[in-house]
């Protein structure tokens, strides 16, 4: 049954689109989420706790609801309707960015806050503003931040609710692994669904292996001073 794996062009096109959409989404989320999370970690303003709770809560956004909201924004009568992005890969990337950015921001905030605590006295004795230390903190936390990005990627690649609503699961245009599995299963084409499922699980396992490899290395670097 899994012989389909051998050189089925259509299957690989679907896999590649999945990877393209989710990697792009993670990249954009990193650019938005990391500085945001770091700024949240080092800044002090009234209502900061509330913002942190909000960002943490947004990590658990239901993909279907995000799909619906992005759909409303992008639909012809929506505020961004003129861009005609609905049912394009770009729409799917936007939906996934909305899903992943809170994950990246929240995890970055945690990591950077802990690190800033370690650096706190040293930084205070230098008399520099807290925000000036953000680039250094981000760089020093890079291994932990890779883990955050991989967590975001895992979420994006496995998610079906948002991409199916804003992408529409159009053959050769917006059909990705998860949406294809949903469709082919309902059609009874279990061979293709299973093949894609196997690949998806493979990616999930690979991402998790990467996460643990990276965090093991981060831990190693942190602990060896003892």
């Amino acid at each position: 049954m899994l012989l389909i794996l051998q050189g089925d062009a259509e299957l690989w096109a679907i896999v590649l689109l999945s990877l393209r959409v989710s990697l792009m989404a993670v990249l954009i989320s990193a650019v938005i989420g990391m500085p945001l999370g770091a700024a949240l970690a080092v800044s002090r303003f009234p209502g900061r706790r509330g913002v942190i709770v909000l960002v943490n809560a947004l990590m658990g956004l239901p993909p279907v609801v995000v799909g619906l909201l992005v759909y409303l924004m992008l639909s012809r009568s929506g505020p961004l309707g003129v861009l005609q992005l609905l049912y394009t890969p770009t729409a799917m990337i936007i939906a996934q960015v909305v899903l992943v950015t809170p994950i990246v921001a929240a995890l970055t905030r945690q990591v950077i806050e802990m690190l800033a605590e370690e650096y706190s006295e040293q930084l205070r004795s230098l008399g520099v503003s807290r925000l000036a230390s953000v680039p250094t903190l981000l760089w020093d936390a890079r291994l932990a931040l890779v883990t955050a990005l991989l967590a975001g990627f895992g979420r994006a690649i496995a998610e079906v609710g948002a991409v199916i609503i804003v992408g529409g699961n159009i053959n050769h245009v917006t059909r990705v692994m998860t949406t294809t599995i949903a469709l082919e299963t309902s059609r009874g084409n279990l061979a293709l669904a299973l093949a894609l499922g196997a690949i998806l699980i493979g990616i999930a396992v690979a991402v998790n292996a990467l996460v643990s490899a990276v965090s093991l290395r981060a831990e190693h670097e942190g602990l060896t001073h003892a």
Partner: protein, 264 residues
Amino acid sequence: MNTESNTQPVIEARQLDLVFQTNDGPVQALRDVNLTVNKGDFVSFIGPSGCGKTTFLRCVAALETPTGGSLSVNGMTPDEARRNRAYGYVFQAAGLYPWRTIAKNIKLPLEIMGYSRDEQEERVRKVLELVDLKGFGEKFPWQLSGGMQQRASIARALAFDADILLMDEPFGALDEIVRDHLNEQLLALWARTEKTIGFVTHSIPEAVYLSTKIVVMSPRPGRITDVIDSPLPKERPLDIRDTPEFIEVAHRVREGLRAGHLDD
């Protein structure tokens, strides 16, 4: 011995008070502290735990804010002085970050202060030489002995040319042989750089060996009980500790510490 006439005070405290508000009520950490530190002085603060010696150093560094009296550093408020990079601070534990190499640890302040890469390299090279750690830049902290780590920590405090070096029990965790060696090196460093040094310690011999001025403090409330201007020459081999002058100063320090306790 003491040349107060033409040197300007680097640190000047007048009737300094600091009261911490704790859950068990207010704690008087410093009471009526008066002290003048001149340029190039090596000042030790000695006393039992809770006498306010570290607290005073932290006030100078603007890490704590006094609740009364006045304190000036280089003629400025401590906070202004900090922003002018008046001092480098060596913390109790070496405080090196295990995920950074020694060179990168020293670069940390330079990075954040925005020095150029070339400048950073140059300064790291210079201070590593100054503390005798040439060639250890690429090592990680755990690859170095405790004494070397502490020297790296001093190098970091020296990296950005502050005129004042504040050291909070830097050698407290080290064994006596290593400590002797580091004390000797610290004096050599002080002679070479002509910095003003504020040094917190628990050890009477260490205070007497290093200092031009010894500030004896006592707890509850934290206050100064004696200020001793050392009669020892600037040039001090380790065996100066066996001379009668040395023993006499040590004796006076011990008396000061005892007097503080009798008040309890």
